[in-house]
């Protein structure tokens, strides 16, 4: 076991939580991430592994909210896989073993900050934050979008009032500020 301790994207030792009557904003520090890009001609093989891993191949614009590994489609023949960090700190290595030379795997855990928005104002807030058709999105819908000039993934989770936002980790503070501002605006 190594001797370095990690910090959250917002720089804390514990994830940041902001609670309002109408929304709860949680910095989610518990997700390990890695991307999978199919190599040319190996798409079918990748699908097979994905199906085994997640139960289904995430379609374009969709997530498979599987446990413990979940995944969503990032682009043509490219997927992001997420899993609890506690158990999957070495997710990229685990995926490399699974996919072999069928895919290129890239560790992404450090690249993203994850915020969970839960509460009755989630849809109103989404409308102030980004250009996604939130009210017509259903559970498992994923959109890459822009929040305050930052490229983010938005995932509508299983619960109707729950949106997950993955944003660039280096701009976690800016993103958090934008989310808080939207929360105050829609209070």
């Amino acid at each position: 076991m190594h001797s370095l301790t990690s910090v959250t994207a917002l720089g804390g030792t514990e994830p940041r939580i902001d609670t309002f009557d109408h929304i709860k904003i949680t910095e989610n520090d518990g997700v390990a991430l890695a991307s999978v890009a199919a190599r040319i001609g190996r798409e079918a093989a990748c699908h097979k592994v994905l199906k085994k891993l997640l139960g289904a191949v995430p379609e374009t614009g969709r997530a498979v909210l599987h446990d413990p590994e979940a995944g969503f489609c990032m682009g043509p023949d490219q997927w992001m896989i997420g899993a609890p960090k506690d158990t999957h700190e070495l997710l990229a290595d685990q995926l490399k073993d699974l996919f072999g030379d069928n895919a290129s795997i890239t560790e992404q855990s450090g690249a993203w900050v994850c915020f969970d928005l839960r509460g009755p104002a989630m849809e109103d807030m989404s409308e102030r934050l980004c250009n996604i058709p939130i009210r017509s999105m259903i559970s498992g819908d994923v959109r890459r979008t822009v929040i305050h000039q930052l490229g983010c993934f938005t995932i509508r989770r299983a619960d109707a009032d729950h949106l997950r936002i993955l944003g660039p980790r280096a701009s976690a503070e800016t993103l958090h500020h934008a989310i808080l501002t939207a929360a105050l605006s829609t209070a």
Binding site: G61, G75, P76, Q78, R144, T145, V146
Partner: protein, 95 residues
Amino acid sequence: MIIEHPLLGPRDSSEFTYMGDAKLIDRPDPEAETAARDFYEYGYLRDNPAGWHDELWFHEQGDRSWLVVTRNTLTHEISKVELARDVARARGRSK
């Protein structure tokens, strides 16, 4: 503008970065005797039509696909959107 992404559906054009004429896919043969002239024309000369135009857009804030968008430069109407990779393959760009 809205670009109907062949995989992702309608997307605001502000998610994209524009590069221009899709003829940029047709990179000339650097070994050809006329390579100097070919690359000059490839690099610098454009039809620049007032009307339908095949052009390259990069989905920078999306799935990072390059698209070939057929768009009317007079009306901004879009009639066709394809993955540039498919277009490049169809035009016979090999390894």
